[in-house]
Symmetry: C2
Subunit: 434 residues, 2 copies
């Protein structure tokens, strides 16, 4: 007897839309933590987010159908937090803290929906902007990127036969498991999934998270993806991101206020969160100037997440900085999450393990590593460097410098002004892969 489930088959072949983002929790946890502070302190600021494709050689608007992109963005706009999700957010403890989200914020969240988007095409690229007040536009970053990333996978996979798909995922699973087995060799490893925004697909990210959990046990400390954390009983991981200092910097009325902006963010953050949530992201306008001008009490924060600087170098720099302030690095946390592949990760581990508390957030190379994987002649499944950044605040241009000059974003004149205030980053430009 050949048992075909007719209902499933008809459903598979007639559905209109396979939504990429099916829940507002399918986002990075740091967005929610930042959101509560933005909602509390900066609810009325107009902040525009813009998608930027740093891999300009990939002509996204040629690969992805505009109609499909609109359908996915529209679907995401139709979402609300479900009751179950709100109850979980309110009732769960995060980083050991109960009721991290305040009742008034939760009430506001219950009515939240994603705001409008502005989509045009130019030179084979999409121009995708989100205009509106900050608490709304900020929430587009992760879903917008995840949607584009998965639409790209889907477009490329459309030419694959049933069998090629089978091989593709078999290879991807085998490859990921090789990585897991190598990670097993690192005692006391602490690693989490940071791969939502550039994932191959939602289902693949879920598989990766389950594989890491299965293989690494407690050494896999969680996922930045709130939905996956909820569904797989993992910790939701993440704290804050570049948008906070970028917005405050854009609002600065003079150079002195500009220089103070990164530390203003820390003061604000501390009024909202404490303990393990006190993680400094130092590189928005260059880590060296950040450390040089930082108030001493920043050394009391739990740790740093260095981002775009060469990891071994910046790790040593931060540890020196702690020591100069009489702080033992062994009591501090360093979180590495920038462009990690297995080799980089192992090198960082070997350098710092035992000398500092160490943690990894593994992104694109966890959830979208399909390089060299396709069985046929296709060779386009490599991930690209797509970001969604603050571009404008109350009509003023926003800027990011970063420790990697190739990652600087903003208008040229403004970048030069920021470089006068903060100094040039002390690191050479690195090719941005993911």
């Amino acid at each position: 007897m050949i048992a075909t489930d007719i209902a499933t088959r008809v459903w598979n072949h007639t559905f209109k839309l396979d939504p990429i983002v099916r829940s507002l929790l399918d986002t990075d946890f740091y967005k929610l933590l930042m959101l509560q502070m933005i909602w509390g302190l900066h609810a009325d600021r107009s902040v525009t987010f813009s998608v930027i494709n740093r891999s300009a050689h990939v002509r996204l608007a040629d690969e992805i159908d505009e109609g499909e992109l609109r359908a996915q963005l529209d679907h995401a706009r139709s979402l609300r937090f479900s009751k179950q999700e709100l109850i979980w957010l309110a009732g769960n403890s995060f980083y050991g803290v109960h009721q991290i989200f305040r009742p008034a914020f939760m009430e506001w969240l219950a009515d939240f929906r994603l705001p409008e988007y502005e989509l045009t095409r130019r030179d084979g690229q999409f121009e995708l902007h989100f205009h509106g007040t900050w608490p709304y536009t900020t929430m587009w970053e992760t879903p917008a990127l995840a949607i584009i990333s998965e639409l790209r996978s889907r477009a490329l996979l459309r030419s694959y036969g049933r069998f090629e798909l089978d091989i593709l995922y078999a290879r991807a699973k085998a490859k990921l498991w090789e990585k897991v087995e190598r990670l097993k060799d690192l005692p006391d490893l602490r690693i989490s999934d940071f791969g939502t925004r550039r994932r191959h697909s939602f289902l693949w990210q879920r598989w990766c998270v389950e594989a890491m959990k299965e293989g690494l046990g407690d050494n896999f400390i969680g996922s930045s993806n709130v939905l996956l954390a909820m569904e797989t009983d993992l910790e939701a991981i993440g704290t804050n991101a570049h948008e906070l200092p970028m917005v405050l910097a854009a609002l600065a009325r003079d150079d002195e206020e500009l220089r103070r902006a990164p530390y203003r963010v820390l003061e604000d953050w501390q009024t909202y969160y404490d303990g393990n949530l006190l993680i400094v992201l130092p590189d928005t306008f260059g880590t060296q100037s950040f450390l040089r001008d930082a108030p001493d009490d920043v050394a009391n924060w739990t740790g740093f997440r260095p981002d775009s600087a060469p990891p071994l170098e910046i790790g040593e720099t931060i540890m020196d900085w702690w020591r100069e302030r009489g702080v033992d690095p062994k009591e501090k946390l360093l979180i590495f999450s920038d462009a990690l592949d297995l080799e980089t990760l192992e090198a960082i581990y070997r350098r710092f393990h035992g000398r500092v508390r160490l943690s990894f957030g593994w992104g694109t190379n966890l959830t979208n590593d399909f390089r060299g994987m396709p069985p046929g002649s296709h060779d386009a499944l490599g991930a690209i460097s797509l970001v969604c950044k603050v571009s404008e605040v109350d009509g003023r241009p926003a800027v990011k410098l970063s420790d990697n000059p190739a990652k600087a974003s903003g208008e040229r004149a403004e970048i030069e002004r920021y470089e006068r205030v903060f100094g040039k980053p002390g690191y050479p430009s690195q090719k941005v892969v993911v």
Copy 2:
């Protein structure tokens, strides 16, 4: 919405038996070709087949539940050829020959069912014998082996978690595809699946066959599995096996008749089949004596399938033998199918490609290569060397010598008698892996 197909789930969790052999066509094609001749010429001979586990360190009766084995054997005994299958056997052409199976044989086949079996346990092994007339007992060989092989896989996999199974098959698929990609580099390769009897499972064999077809196209010339050949529109491959000379040898009344037995088989075969079906299997009692005493017209046969001798050596020997009889090897076929792994296969290809027509029948290392594959601590999924051989003919013991002394089977006194008649094999004993 989480759509669970309740019917499928309940079915999956309540079924009593998942039959391993679901069709009498799930067997090797050579069994059917031999069967027609056996039915025509030797229908009344009593021939006992016995399962022999050459990998004695694997205690099969400890790994496999006797009740499950009986249930599978009983299920196989309940099978009949379906109308569709009989119509396909009658209407299809094999090796370019129409109506290879005669109407009277087809009529007999319509009522065929597998005969009884005798199963006992001893020292951690099963003693499994099939007693009866040759046309019935011969048909147990392939299904009995496939059943034991898959029961062993199932027993070992029972301790695997859902996730470990996922990784296991992902790795197996990725590994097989690596092989396919290497085989693609061999121009004019002709290779077929010979892996039914020691397959990991029926579904895995089907996947392997589909992968070979997808990857190698016309260079994958077919499968020895008749059911898979029918279902996947491939050629059914195979001609004859050791049982024919073994039975005729056992019946020989004196040493002279014994020495003539292998050639009697060829004469009989030729009355039934011609063209591409004229493949000599020379090693039943040693290839060197076979060639030495063979009538000259054996050189007119299409080709040889050397079996257990070192392949490069025996290939040269047979080619020399052809040349000595004024026959150009380029017009002749050599089929290699013994214990092929990728490296052996490539070595044979490099040696003989262009010098002779060349073909491969790939067995256990195609359909049951799970060595080193399990994700956890398990390490028992390697294939074992299990055979089902003629042990007795009309009350007289049957013997096989083979070119590999380690593969000799039969009573010691009889083996010694056969060695007096045919000479000792000229090759050293090789460890039998599969």
